[in-house]
Subunit: 321 residues, 3 copies
């Protein structure tokens, strides 16, 4: 593996999930693999779970880790070419990426979308420039359009908790008070569509009209606008808010009736409910589900973030040996 | 030891102090004990000395450390149950504590009081919820009402520098321009009362009327309102400001006459003067005392913070083997 | 080596540069030297490259590292003696430096100038007090007047890329929109003057009238005000902005005509162009130079920051054995 920004960087997800489960049972087995190797974790936006799980994964592999909170250091990066830098940007991404590449063996980067200009966000300019200029493998800690380590951890969690050979997995839109990126649902859809193709699951998406995701991330997904119909007989449900892709970055409605609680799960197959966290209780998801040992998998998912990151870092380290 | 939030978590302080002094003379003797164990240090308020000394203590035990500055990440935690989270809080403590527990073997937490509502502060809600939900041992890096690692380091310092079997120790209120928490004096009083009970010291508290500490932390302490009378023949004096407990969080007076300097020490037993730091020179404590090798112990105390933290982490690691 | 704040702390730079190049080819050869030793990196101002390269250097030597971002922690230090601390400063440098010295074996410190009061800045009060009170070796990560690790890395880079026994090196003033410190040009001048004295290079400085550097840092340097004349036949050019030393901290002109681009290099000896970074493209330096593999050395310089720091830390560790 030379980079990790999308499911497209993975040969087959079934094997990758099995490798993650092996690592989970022997987390320290590869403590020498990353010896004297440096992971640079570059945050253009805040992070808690992602930073911790990635840092722990790197430490389990014996790597050294340096964290750069570019957002908090006030080190505004210029990404445009051909501009005279006499404004507020202090350093060009061409220099910054190259310098990070000098100091680090692998770069892990977080850069959220602006949600103002869809083309700009979906071009993934920052990621592509880091990949182009840094000269070292780049791992996404959530880009403008995808959050692949989250989706990988989600698939590990589904594999661990499935009660049938081919469970039904449903991604459902959920309400929120702020306009959120599409990166988590895009990545979840991308990974689940691939898992469906490999025969691991059946995948359904449900959302109000107007919240269609970008089609390139949903090949083969069944889309049903009636939420109750969509979640019927579901084994796993993934409620998540996102802002509109078509009316880019906008909140289209208050989403009344779209929040799930335990009562709404009665026609499912005793569905396990997932969320990437942080989750706003009783706004995105009923507190009764989050407090239910029978239904909630959100803590297990967060725990699996470590094994997703460790698997990816291990494969990249192995490729560069 | 399963947690460390108060002197009540300690079986006997005399033995604990001896263990700390042993560790101080062989800091690297237990470098394997914490191998592949993760300390998560969670700061809801800023920290310098406490972060450094705890981080160093953990490293001496071979632990990995991850620091989470929740105050600076702008990750507002919800602590109330049953609220619809449609405001400014981003994550509920139920999820946050559980996730930290997934990533870390021990959690060390700092959470200051608001100083607005006494019941809320003295209920230690944040600490109790972290203990309830995280599922791992919790160490206090200063809570709303106590700072036990500081008090433990203070007792180590007294033990090292005492010139008689049972020295006289005096906690005295000192002036300040801001309303400060009662956590340091509460913890010092709680530990000194226990040390007095175990026959290690004699303990006196002095403060202006109105600055009485919460009685549950001062069992057996002699309280004298005349500062000169209180410090007479003292071997150790601990000047510290705190805001009122009865008129909660308030500054009651400018404290004229309560600041100690070298001249004021003439009727003491050549008293050694202590402070948890940071200290405001010539406001809380005379600069002449701080600059006096004969009188000041403040740097020695700060140094002993490492051994206090290392002793506590060692005992918790041993309990979980 | 007992401290590193200036070229004056170095016995001879020629030998030091050779030692750095040896370390560069075997970065992990001294992994045991810093075992169980703590580097404290104290930032009173923000840092990216310096923090990363120093942290990596310390890790290569097996040291543990603790970073203190005092600027971001809001921990305002008092440096004046004899003041009653009833204002905004929270801790006196006398206590802070001593406490850092308790926790760390080496302190590395960054403290920029205020650019308001020249005497205050050029007295290097913060550095001198850290050296006086901390009781441990102090390394400059850029002070009010010097940035010696940068200049050392620059000299390593020149040594690696020189095409003649005694190359011509030119420091040239460059335009900027903000008033910048003199620390980088002062340090570059100080190191190049010493290198010239040791027969390694020939050194020329060029700048508009009014931008004269403090003379104590430029002994033996040739100063030429015509930029084209100065850079004629140059092997290495170091463009850098600085504010006025004489009219202290001021921008005297917009610097029209002083920015170099590839066309301006035609009468040089195919000069290699250097910069400490961050650099503002097409304001301080032409983007065409930065994007030219033939001319730009800025990434190599940034890479060499690691070896400069590692050499200095190694020598200090060896001195304290």
């Amino acid at each position: 593996m030379k980079q990790f920004t999308s499911v497209k960087d993975v040969q087959d997800v079934k094997t990758l999930v099995q490798e993650a489960l092996t690592i989970k049972h022997q987390p320290q087995a590869h403590r020498d693999l990353g010896k004297h190797k440096m992971l640079g974790a570059v945050f253009l936006n805040p992070s808690l779970r992602t930073r911790l799980s990635t840092q722990k994964a790197a430490m389990n592999l014996g790597m050294d880790v340096m964290v750069m909170n570019i957002d908090k250091e006030g080190w505004a990066l210029e990404t445009r070419d051909g501009v005279i830098m006499n404004g507020s940007t202090v350093e060009h991404i061409r220099e910054a990426a190259r310098v990070f590449g000098e100091y680090c063996d692998i770069l892990a980067i977080r850069a959220f979308p602006g949600l103002k200009n869809r083309d700009e966000d979906y071009n993934e300019e920052i990621f592509n420039k880091f990949i182009e200029f840094s000269g070292v493998p780049v791992v996404s800690l959530e880009s403008a359009t995808l959050h692949p380590l989250q989706a990988f951890a989600d698939l590990i969690t589904i594999e661990e908790h499935k009660r049938s050979a081919r469970p039904k997995v449903v991604l459902t839109w959920a309400p929120h008070v702020k306009p959120l990126p599409q990166s988590v649902p895009n990545a979840f859809a991308e990974w689940m569509c691939q898992a469906q193709k490999e025969g691991m699951i059946d995948f359904v998406i449900t959302h109000p009209e107007g919240y269609e995701l970008c089609e390139k991330f949903t090949p083969g997904a069944q889309i049903i606008h009636d939420q109750d119909e969509a979640i019927k007989d579901a084994d796993f449900i993934y409620p998540k808010n996102w802002s509109s892709y078509n009316d880019y970055g906008k909140i289209l409605s208050d989403g009344e009736g779209w929040m799930l609680n335990v009562d709404r799960l009665k026609h499912t197959n005793a569905a396990r409910v997932m969320h990437c966290l942080p989750v706003r209780r009783d706004l995105e998801l009923g507190a009764d589900i989050l407090d239910s040992k029978e239904h909630s998998l959100v803590i297990e998912e967060a725990g699996n973030r470590v094994w997703a990151a460790q698997t990816v870092l291990k494969k990249i380290l192995e490729s560069s040996l």
